[in-house]
């Protein structure tokens, strides 16, 4: 029993060490020169453009549902006029970034994990390495930077669509005009609502890209490993999103809301 615990602890420490090496390798290769711009643009397209529909639909439904759920309670309190503000602040500060990041973790981290995992199984990463090219620079750096850039952009788009969903729900019941609704939404937002929310999405993007790449790049050589890499990438990235969110909220509270 004690032996098993020691082995498990050793394995856990080894994993931390491997991630540290991977992390260092990523940063070293960013500044090494010969950045793979064409692959980076392709990844931005794959990660950003191809996730837009999913993010859009999810955000739209979230905005719509939140208004429908909030309205009866707000009506009871006579705070119906506060609905646009409530939605705007909650969606932009917290719900939008986290939900969009979780959705993207499911789609993008698993995609990257499976893609790199299958490249490992079919010896494509080894082939790249023995050909003298740099697989870390070509495969990892481009993907992690692409997710770090595209997740904030997707969040901005998702936030806008979510607020629009909220408008449609409110317009059905309260016949509010488009300009009044968005005026109320925007006037209720301050810099400290927008800036920390946007900054944390960069970290969400980094976590999604890093975890996806790490799990795929270090998967074992077997077809089963591809599934394991994809699955483990989603679970770990989702967990990291919540951890980063908790830290970001604490930091924001300390810095801006005292």
């Amino acid at each position: 029993m004690a032996e098993q615990a020691v082995t498990g602890y050793k394995k856990w420490l080894e994993g931390i060490g491997e991630q540290g090496v991977f992390f260092t390798g990523f940063f070293r290769n960013i500044f090494r020169g010969g950045f793979e711009w064409s692959e980076f643009v392709r990844q931005c397209y794959e990660i950003g453009y191809r996730s837009m529909m999913l993010v859009g639909i999810t955000s739209f439904i979230m905005g719509l549902v939140l208004i429908l759920q909030l309205r009866p309670s707000m009506l009871q309190m006579g705070a119906e006029a506060m609905l646009p503000k409530t939605l705007a602040v909650s969606f932009i500060r917290e719900i939008g970034p986290v939900i969009i990041a979780i959705i993207c973790a499911g789609k993008i981290a698993s995609g990257i994990g499976a893609e790199l995992g299958s490249m490992k199984v079919t010896e494509q990463i080894d082939a790249m390495e023995v050909s003298g090219a740099n697989p870390l620079q070509y495969l990892v750096v481009t993907r992690i930077i692409a997710t770090s850039v595209m997740i904030p952009l997707l969040t901005i788009i998702g936030d806008a669509i979510g607020l629009f969903g909220g408008f449609l729900a409110l317009n059905f019941t309260d016949d509010i005009s488009f300009s009044l609704y968005f005026h109320k939404c925007i006037s209720s937002l301050e810099f400290i609502d927008l800036f920390p929310a946007l900054v944390k999405t960069i970290f969400f993007g980094f976590a999604i890209g890093f975890v996806g790449c790490y799990k795929g790049y270090n998967s074992n050589k077997g077809t089963e490993s591809v599934g394991i890499a994809a699955n483990s990438a989603v679970v770990t990235a989702s967990l990291w999103i919540f951890v980063i969110d908790a830290v970001a909220v604490q930091l924001t509270s300390l810095l801006f809301y005292r």
């Binding site: 079919t122 494509q124 080894d126 023995v130 050909s131 003298g132 090219a133 070509y138």
Partner: protein, 261 residues
């Protein structure tokens, strides 16, 4: 064909004795399993050495040590006189421009067309910028393996044999001095296997490459080998020409040949 190859070697007698790969008493274990046990092998310039053996005997591990994908637990691997284990990243990169590796599956990059696969080493390793030169070399390489028609296809649209040929073209496009072939004919029908074996031989003649060919395909060994080494349970048990080993006294050695030829 073998005679022709040897004739080619005779044209460059001064190079014939230069040892380009010197594997000296290497051992390698994975966990409890000892895969390589005190292996020694020398590859001379312009020579094709075939390593024969059953699957899972450590044949591929040997050639992975040559390009630094794996490091032996004991012994040394010297390529062009330099110890691979002591090379830094830049030296390894330099080495890998002179030594190419053809993987069992061809290992074409899935997301790229055949053209992009072949352009990849040209732009990243040889740093060629001139698109006209790149196009010329890609087309030449594909023509050499009879795949010019598939230039804009994705690897998923190619058959197993075509993938191997495209993989071969990609490795040869940088004109390496040493080629390492990992099971080049595995999983192919006999006709395609023969075509690939003949391509390997043609590459040797055309580019004067030295090669280590890992296989358990006797037909491939017969066509390509200048020298055959037989591996069993992580160690080399016999060495000689194809015909010498085929008629060897040792029962185990002969059994490799009797099964298929």
């Amino acid at each position: 064909m073998q005679t022709e190859t040897k004739h080619t070697q005779k044209e460059k007698p001064a190079d014939n004795n230069e040892v380009v790969v010197d594997i000296d008493h290497i051992s390698k274990s994975f966990g409890e399993k000892e895969v390589l046990k005190d292996i020694t092998l020398k590859l001379k310039r312009g020579e094709n050495v075939v390593v024969l053996g059953k699957s899972g005997q450590g044949k591929s591990v040997t050639i992975q040590c040559i390009v630094g994908l794996l490091t032996p637990d004991a012994g040394t691997v010297k390529v062009f006189g330099d110890n691979v284990a002591e090379m830094n990243d830049e030296q390894l990169k330099e080495l890998r421009t002179r030594v190419s590796f053809l993987f069992q599956s061809g290992a074409l990059y899935d997301s790229m067309t055949v053209r992009d696969n072949l352009e990849f080493p040209l732009t990243r390793i040889l740093k060629i910028k001139d698109q006209v030169e790149i196009d010329k070399r890609v087309e030449e390489a594909l023509d050499g393996v009879g795949l010019l028609d598939a230039i804009d296809k994705l690897p998923s649209d190619l058959s197993g044999g075509m993938r191997k040929r495209a993989g071969l073209a990609r490795t040869m496009i940088v004109r390496p001095e040493i080629m390492l072939y990992d099971e080049p004919t595995t999983g192919l029908d006999p006709i395609t296997s023969r075509e690939i074996s003949e391509l390997i031989l043609n590459m040797q003649k055309k580019f004067k490459t030295s090669a280590i060919i890992i296989t358990h395909d006797m037909e491939c060994a017969k066509i390509t080998a200048d020298r055959v080494v037989i591996m069993n349970e992580g160690t080399y048990i016999a060495e000689g020409s194809f015909d010498e080993l085929k008629n060897a006294d040792d029962k185990l050695v002969r059994s490799f040949f009797n099964e298929t030829t």
